[in-house]
């Protein structure tokens, strides 16, 4: 009975994901598409739970649905001014691409059939056994954290670099704009913020500490912290001007720099990049994670706000001058 129920849930989730994706890409209203995308992200998180990947569920809920959602909604404010009326057409008229249409129909059908009918395309062994076998040599007993910070630490190092690069790209495109909010902040939002912020910070610290032996870790903790920071900034709180200069830049680059320093230290000590001396003590992994999560929080929040702080040391992001003069 429970097994049948599980099958039903799986089928329902898979179908809803597909239908949601279709709806969000087919609707002509971009705001509706964004809201559907957030719902899509939350359902993805549920799918990760069903697939027994709680690390991914946490990351998807916070990053895929939450932070990407805020990013898209803020972007909509800037992109959608006046564009609602000039919605020319949904489809582009490029004829040359139309020859691809049959392929776009037949290929997924074949692949889905193959995937549902043949059990042989699954790999049998995987890497679970090899990871668990070497788990006692390093300072963590959660396999995913071990892969992220030790076995495949190179990936994580470069991932942090990509995050830093994305913020550099965003900053180089335009100076920061005031966060657009059509109405004054309601007292309820301020009250909720007071309640939520301590909980967010506590949960983030808990996830960070827990990451060494259970699902959680630097990325989830950093993303939660970023969500708290964004809530603050959306409620008209501002970073003081003296923070938005060197301090903010050091915070953004700090995680990557410390990780790189550890990597270089390991290179000097053991002769191999990222081969931690003694296999990686738990305090070493935890301090890398702490630095990473602070950096990641700042990186995610600044990526969503978009635009570099102005050179004059004003608050970041700046306040709006007057509601009438808003550029959009």
């Amino acid at each position: 009975m429970t097994l049948l129920f599980g099958h039903l849930i799986d089928l329902l989730l898979a179908v809803s994901l597909t239908v949601l994706a279709w709806r969000l890409l087919a609707t002509s209203d971009l705001f509706k598409a964004t809201v559907l995308f957030i719902a899509f992200g939350l359902l993805m998180a549920l799918a990760w739970v069903r697939l027994d990947a709680p690390d991914l569920a946490l990351a998807e809920a916070v990053i895929g649905a939450g932070i990407t959602g805020v990013l898209l909604l803020t972007a909509l404010r800037h992109l959608d001014s006046g564009a609602r009326v000039a919605r020319m057409s949904g489809r582009s008229g490029r004829r040359s691409l139309r020859v691809l249409l049959p392929a776009l129909g037949i290929m997924p059908a074949l692949l889905v059939l193959l995937c549902l009918s043949s059990p042989h395309i699954r790999s049998t062994a995987g890497l679970t056994a090899s990871v668990i076998e070497r788990l006692d040599q390093i300072g963590t007993d959660h396999p995913v954290t071990a892969v992220l910070l030790d076995f495949r630490a190179y990936d994580t190092l470069l991932e942090t670099a990509v995050l830093l690069l994305a913020v550099v790209a965003v900053w180089s495109l335009h100076p920061v704009r005031p966060i657009f909010s059509p109405e004054p902040i309601s007292p309820a939002q301020r009250g909720l913020l007071r309640l939520l912020l301590p909980v967010l910070i506590m949960t983030s610290l808990y996830l960070l500490w827990r990451g060494s032996h259970a699902p959680g870790g630097a990325f989830q903790a950093g993303a939660l912290l970023a969500a708290g920071l964004l809530l603050l900034l959306l409620s008209e709180q501002r970073l003081p001007g003296r923070w938005s200069g060197m301090f903010l830049r050091l915070l953004l680059a700090g995680g990557f720099m410390i990780f790189l320093l550890v990597a270089a230290g390991a290179l000097v000590g053991t002769g191999t990049l990222l081969d931690y001396p003694g296999g990686g003590a738990s305090w070493l992994l935890l301090s890398i994670e702490a630095a990473l999560s602070l950096s990641i929080a700042a990186l995610l929040a600044t990526a969503v706000i978009g635009g570099r702080p102005s050179d004059r040391s004003t608050e970041f992001p700046p306040r709006r001058k007057d509601p009438a003069g808003e550029e959009g």
């Binding site: 597909t18 890409l25 993805m44 564009a83």
Partner: protein, 104 residues
């Protein structure tokens, strides 16, 4: 048929729905959403095929998908910044009398 294959199948469909929208929809933000959906499809295929019923999920693909989720966010942020810049340039370029192109 394996019960968890439905996720991999859904992933394949998501990828192709996204690909279709990426080719045939005009608005830039929609193309960004389409690329996000395609990414989610790839992640679902990856984990859906790896997962064996009754066993814990392989940690290596999990770590790779976790990296993928972050990189997708980086892509989205950079692409949106580019789209906004493009719209600004477009508005500067066109005079106020000409109808506005839809770069939403």
């Amino acid at each position: 048929m394996n019960d968890l294959s439905v996720y991999a199948a859904a992933g394949i469909l998501l990828f192709f729905i996204g690909l279709y929208a990426l080719f045939f929809r005009r608005q830039l933000l929609r193309k960004i959403l389409a690329a996000n959906v395609m990414g989610s499809g790839v992640f679902l295929i990856f984990i859906g095929l790896v997962k064996q019923p009754g066993q814990s999920t392989d940690p290596v693909p999990q770590a790779m998908v976790l990296t993928g989720i972050i990189v997708t966010l980086c892509f989205t942020a950079a692409a949106i910044a580019l789209a906004i810049r493009l719209k600004e340039l477009n508005e500067e370029h066109h005079s106020a009398t000409r109808p506005e192109d839809d770069f939403g």
